[in-house]
Symmetry: C2
């Protein structure tokens, strides 16, 4: 039986996407689900809805809760102690372009490295130097990777991936979408999304 597909939409500025990215590979393997790692940008989706930024940022009470919550979850998942990026949210454009440009086999490790740099190591992922060092740490020693990621064709691919997310009803990150279009929002729904994808594949 072929493994079940599941789209994993994530934005590099999203703390809950970090938590999901740290967990999804092991859980998907156990559930025999094949993850399509899909970096996208939440900014244009928020803007189209008339939000200046995420409600997690614009509501101070929600913001206080979010950091306490993400800190507790990082501990629960045995991740390194959470470090809050400052400023927040960071500009995730460059990281998203590079992640998209890498092939499917390399994207997950790069994605996890970016998130860890951002939320556990206090590094600035909007900085080209940081991205270069993260790539080098994964064996991509050519600065050309970044140049290629910033070519118009790749920029357009990221724009199209963001538009596809919006068209499927994505309004936040992380979001998981199964083959039947069922949409699951949030790190909290990762397990449920995997269950759904697996059941779909079995019923097929």
């Amino acid at each position: 039986m072929a493994s079940a597909p599941l789209d994993f939409y994530y934005d590099f500025s999203s703390p809950y996407s970090y938590l999901a990215a740290a967990r999804i590979a092991a859980l998907a393997e156990g559930a025999d689900v094949r993850i399509a790692w899909k970096p996208f940008l939440l900014g244009p989706i928020f803007a189209a809805k008339g939000h200046a930024t995420s409600p997690l940022v614009s509501d101070p009470d929600k913001n206080v809760h979010m950091w306490a919550d993400v800190t507790r979850l990082a501990e629960l998942y045995h991740l390194p102690p959470l470090r809050r990026p400052d400023p927040f949210p960071v500009n995730s454009l460059l990281a998203a372009r590079v992640a998209l440009h890498l092939n499917d086999a390399c994207r997950p490790a790069f994605t996890r490295a970016v998130y860890r740099a951002e939320f556990a190591e206090g590094r600035d992922i909007a900085d080209r130097e940081t991205i270069y060092h993260l790539l080098a740490g994964l064996g991509h020693f050519f600065e050309e990777v970044i140049d290629e990621a910033e070519r118009q064709e790749n920029k357009d691919r990221l724009r199209a991936q963001t538009e596809a997310a919006r068209a499927e009803g994505v309004f936040g990150a992380p979001t998981f979408i199964a083959a039947d279009g069922a949409l699951f929002w949030g790190n909290d729904r990762l397990e449920m999304a995997l269950d759904h994808a697996r059941r779909l594949a079995r019923a097929a």
Copy 2:
């Protein structure tokens, strides 16, 4: 050892509060946590933040996801099939006043009955008749209960409870607050809030 206290803030218009109210008593008993059932109104808190309504209502994509999500969770929890109140959100003022007016021993059963009427039976909980029948079903056969709930003193109590919630940082429902002020937002965090309350009590 005394059981650990945990405040449970809920709004009768909130579907996720319904899910938490259906689960909390059994889970709290298992965790030896004493729940303070605290009905309040989200409306004035949203208004103070400049939101016309809940983001679950104002964003159509979020709204579609919410109903799919609550429907799936109701099934997962073995609750009756979810029925979407129409209109939504309902006016939860009368139900909140009556819930607050009842004593601590009667409030949980009334709360669950209201939520079930609203989200599983398609009944209008803004209607005085509905509330009267729910009360009668629980053995409160006196229409005076509703009259008393609408006295100025009780109205003021509900206002004070809402203000207390806001002052503690409540921005959504359900919200759980432990004795040390730690705040947990959402039905998804019920188990974590209970764990926290229990650990606090053991450390004391």
